[in-house]
Amino acid sequence: MALNWFKFASPASFYPIAGRLVPVFWALTIVLLAVGLYWGFFETVDQLGGNNPQKEYYRIIFIHVPAAWMSMWLYVVLVGWAAIGLVFNTRLSFMMANAVAPTGAIFTFLALWTGAFWGRPSWGTYWDWDPRLTSELALFFLYIGYIALHSAIDDTRRADRAAGLLAIVGLVMVPVIFWSINCPDPNQCAALHQRSNLMRIEGNILFSMLVMTFAFWMYSFATGFMRLRSIILTREADSTWVQEILNKENRA
């Protein structure tokens, strides 16, 4: 069977599919959120650690870590779509990149914000120039730069390509952020974050953290596709199939 990879690369054929997928992803988001939050609140221990335990507030981890993961992952997704768009010259890929950017920026902000509230009780400070915090802040600036450059250029084609290229250049920062938490020699970098090691996390905490990550991921799909549909409609406003949809809705 010959598979036509580009069939769904046309906005007109992907628009209805995205419309059908949005409720599915919302349902998955809600279910996973419910499970993750229930598990995180009621099936995990009340405090962590021995002498100076982290009390209830350690549960911020269920928002903080998934948000930080998604902030990095969505940037990679954004760059991936931008690269595909630059190589194959497909309009939909750039629209995807565009649809992902605000969600990624929000997750980056959420990771920083929740981190500040976690840092206050456990480290005694909202902010410190720990490598992880600094590089996450840089990632936030990269998202903002992408969105700003895109909105500054009126010509859509140029905006897509220019912002896409910028995103690709910014990709050099992602490995830095990813490895900033696992500094090879802790004595060399003054880091407040402890090194991450998924194997050492207690089972229930790990479970709800991973469920929350999937919930955030599904949420990204849902909001991404919703935004994608609006972008498609805006950009294809002059085409006949959009006019037909609008006419149908007007009649209804």
Binding site: L142, G145, R161, A162, V172, M173
Partner: protein
Amino acid sequence: MLRVFWTILKRDLTLAMRRRTDVLTTLFFFVIVISLFPLGVGTEHKVLEILGPGVVWVAALLASMLALERLFAADYEDGTLEQMLLTAQPLSLLVLAKIAAHWILTGLPLVLIAPLVGMQYHLSDTAIGIMMLSLLLGTPVLSLVGAIGAALTLGLRGGGILLSLLILPLYIPVLVYGSGAVQVSSIAITDTQPYLALLGAFLLVAMVFAPVASAAALRISLE
């Protein structure tokens, strides 16, 4: 191929020499920003010694960023840039020549004036030496990476302020290791080696990839 490089380099330098104030403005901006800090934070020796490396590096970042706007702007306005795009020679080579000229005009003067501003901050002789070395390795990276942003924002309204938003986050590693080298030099001069090695590595990577990326950005902007 090399002849094209030299021709462009010579052309850009000649053009800049005809309008010397442009070059001097960047330099004086650098000096003024650095001179303002002691007026704001107080003139205590100890404080200035600690702040010095960081202030000089941040000022270098801002100065080279402000100068970036002019990198392609003049050639864009009179159509020279379009002719460059149409030539048979690889565009990235022409861009590299333009970046080299830009660095000689805006980056090199900052390196040369560094001892003077270092003295304003009571830095030791070794610290000043390391600062010059780190600026010598770091400012070309700023020009190279900045060229990508300058090419992307070519001819946009509010290009300057947008450029800073795009480029400054990418400057962070250079700032960290550039000022880090100077700070470490006060403890042990041998400790500066990894910092300088990393700056050199940034320079090599930027030299390979930045001209290609800027050329691609120019093609997008002039389509």
